[in-house]
Symmetry: D2
């Protein structure tokens, strides 16, 4: 995520990277670590130093582990800076956070000031925000598929199931045996079945639009792929709608209306479903719909490092600062 | 599938391959096509010749395309031979077959004589059978996950969803752009959403055990994997059971009882879910269970070329002829 | 290659795509075929029509099969247009072309007017060219590794071996059994050992710089990768140089000097070798060097669809028209 | 390697696994770790205990890290047991070992008693051996390709280059960032160029057959594959042979003669080269040959975990004990 952020910001017309810090052994020009960045950016990647950051930056992107962001963000916010936090630290209420992340929250006061950075749902609030809780990758793919029908009241909320298939970069760049090539390649696994920490994040937002508490089922799978999340969402129509026999074309129409003018949403025509190839290396979310009987099945695809992380963070910045929302993104 | 069959039968203690036929340009010793078979089997692969096959074989494995098997099988059956058919031609009633495979059935009379070759469910009938309809790969993975709970009456049949992820060999060895490496690699797609021809096969067997017509939802996905199917099955408990609060341990217990003594089923302990790695290159089906609230989620894994095709065919033969059911299989 | 070209040109500041033609069944807006292009380009992809092309375009990119380009290019050239041909039709002398591509050449007269479009070696000629023979992907990776040492006279030309590993998109988007996922995945093969049609292309350019005929050995391998070529080049120092004991640092220095200021070449520091990850989705060629005893081993990496095809074609256009050489490329 | 060994030995007709030890946190039945072994073997995997091992076993397979085997083997050998060591500890002379493995050798006395376990070259010595140094995976693939021509005196020894492409399991089951899926997948890299610790092992054996010191060049590459090594070996004919114009058919004939009757070698016919698919999940080495001008190019393929490790270890055991050399292996 950090690498992608730097890559995007290095060629963004309206911003300049003034500070680059990471937990590294030795300070290096960033282009020595990522040869493709040489020629584009010249900055040295330094060890963490909040004072330097406060002095030189107006906006800070925090691509820190969960539990670390909340120890760093307050000082920047207190210094009048804007913060886009890519961790989960500002996405949930304190009690849910503690339950799912197993840690006390150290900056609970700022949670209420944080705006959930899913532009297609919260663009107006993002425009005013000083603190963005950038969404998780799974929730981004799930919510963009679920919310249109929930908002229209078409869905029986007790029946929503999200079956997600994710590439391995979703877990970050880690040395862990379960993420080693010989474990992941030619293999597939379900994990954290209905107990993944992105489940409460999905339900929090669905609940907001539904107007009542929900219990969407969420099962993530690890696939032998580098980049991308494909979520297959299963929903029953609500009882009153079941009688009306809505067909695929109508539902496609609802989605096209809902996302009209959105620069990064592609709703597929009837009969076509998206694949990861349609979105990899872009900030797009591609959505396809299929209705059979009383059920509607929605397939949504994103690149987990872009629309699911760094790309969406830049999209949020573009909105906050009134830049062209597409700037730096494809 | 054909290659796997030859590989298994070449070292099977109780059988001899007396005839090997395929639609080929030129007749070859099989070991020239598959170098790993040299040293194990010496037979020449010839062009199709029913007369030779009738003369030399007691049992015929038909690994033919759908619509072709039904033109070949009757003559072998009429000649008193046994047939294990790996196509779909004898799996469905005539009307369903016509609807889903788009062709009139030319040997409808033999459908009622065919036994569905899923040994864990129909072993007694297989023992007596002269014609085996060897199950499809997706139905094998789905049914072994679904049937135990259906038989116990625990499941609300209107809620069953099968989300399957399959490797690319499931489609056979074909030159098709959608199966080319550059399309499949690093990609994932849902296809034939709820309209795959394996859907009626799944529902036919579920209906038998449920005692009423069912409409299980089935969505297959193509994953960048060579071998294996992982099916994630979502089911609600039936209304009366919901009140009883059944937990994962109990459901694991049900499955362990149901499959007690089965040589090729592995029910995972509570807290563990199977991965494709657990079953690839074996005839195993590995099953894991997770209960959350009113829903039970079952994950089942098979190697689509073995338990999903050639391995299961040999298992059926072993049962028909009273051989050790494990012979030739791992 | 065609898709990549459109993707790059659609956002190129200095050009407009005025005509888009392909051998297609039905005419479509290009964004229906590639959803990621919607929002960026609106043009309809039409069936081939030379008259329309002549009328609307100043420069034509031909991404046609070998043997087809030479039937199309003359009319455009005759009409005063510039042509960048991505096929092999203008890369070799007539006799070599006939020998390696098995066809008579129908536009032999234009071969001498064609400039070999490898900017790092022939930038000045490219600036004046009306017809560019855009290099093959393997030759690009091999020549950028070989030529610096040949030009310096350091190499025993009888010892040069190029062992290349290529991803599957190098073969184009084809339905061929040998390019199917189940053949390529988890597999590797050498093919056309020392008889690949890119061998004479490599030798033609090496000969030019060596001043004598050469017989560089070239063995391509197909790897289970989508994009990228890694070439490992083995060369003995020339006899007189062997005595001088040149070390890795000196050779790295030679390459850095040779490619000084080149926007798309990255010479790695001593001790580091490039990987495909360093260049995928970019127009870069990354080069690493290792000297052991009398041998120098050079590893070079490119993205076969960009520096090996569409990216290099755009780089050539930028040079021909005096645009910023980096425009549209990363 | 350990898992493969257990899998093979569990079904081997002539042996029984009496002791199974590993560096584990908690003692488990092996079938809990590898579900596919349940039903085949019942033994508990215990923590290391040499006394138990000495008491219960006649032959010990040591699948230990380098530098550990040499601290364990002497006690077993001293107790009259046979040892097949899969580490590098007994493959090199003391001085070479120290140089390449960076450690003093603690059991130098036993090195001269160790037999290099490459059956196709040293079968007679293996028959008498008490201590087998089981070959490395790269050397196995390289030596089986090189030695026939060296023994025939056909090769200019100064020109031998081994360019190997290996799958990721070659590095063992490790949590290391460079072996993580997101680093290896869709990537390729050369590493330890001409300084890999398998280089002296290759040269030691080539030297034995050449009768003089050699300096074969060896460059390994990591490919996004689980199992398999493909080595492409480049050799010039020796000066006197160059004049004789030997062709591919003759060289194929030499290899077929050399490996006549070998159960695990497959020499491909002229015009065919092996792929990894031909050998994966088998103990085979498949070899293909191509002659162009003065150069001979040999491609050899093995499964690194079988012929490159566990399979070859069992083959050695079969020879030592007079079992059928094929027993347990495919």
């Amino acid at each position: 995520t950090g690498e992608e952020l730097v890559r995007i910001l290095a060629v963004h017309k309206d911003v300049e990277i003034t500070v680059l810090q990471a937990l590294i052994e030795k300070e290096h020009p960033i282009s020595e670590i990522f040869p493709r960045l040489s020629d584009k950016i010249d900055i040295v990647c330094r060890k963490p130093d909040e004072t330097e950051a406060l002095k030189k930056a107006d906006l800070l992107f925090l691509a820190l582990p969960h539990k670390v962001s909340m120890t760093v963000a307050p000082r920047f916010l207190g210094g009048g800076k804007s913060v886009i936090d890519l961790s989960a630290d500002y996405r949930l209420p304190v009690d849910e956070y503690t339950k799912w992340y197993g840690a006390e929250h150290k900056d609970g006061g700022n949670i209420k000031n944080a705006v959930y950075g899913l532009p297609e749902l919260f663009r107006d609030k993002i425009r005013q925000a000083k603190l963005i809780a950038n969404p998780g990758c799974y929730p981004t793919s799930a919510l963009l598929a679920i919310i249109p029908l929930v908002k229209l009241g078409l869905v029986d909320l007790d029946t929503v199931i999200v079956d997600s298939k994710s590439g391995a970069t979703g877990a970050g760049r880690k040395a862990h045996i379960s993420l080693s090539f010989s474990e992941v390649d030619e293999n597939m696994r379900a994990y954290k079945v209905n107990e993944h920490q992105h489940k409460p994040e999905i339900n929090l937002i669905v609940s907001k639009f539904a107007g009542k508490k929900t219990d969407v089922v969420f099962v993530p799978h690890l696939a032998p792929i580098n980049r991308g999340i494909l979520s297959t969402v299963y929903m029953d129509f609500s009882p009153e709608k079941k009688k009306k026999k809505i067909n695929t074309a109508e539902i496609v129409g609802f989605y096209k209306d809902f996302y009209k003018g959105e620069p990064f949403i592609r709703v597929m025509n009837e009969g076509t479903l998206p694949t990861l190839r349609d979105v990899q290396y872009t900030n797009l979310c591609a959505i396809g719909v299929n209705v059979t009987g009383d059920k509607v099945i929605v397939v949504s695809c994103i690149d987990n490092l872009l629309k699911g992380a760094a790309g969406q963070a830049v999209q949020n910045m573009n909105i906050m600062y009134g830049f062209d929302e597409r700037e730096g993104l494809v």
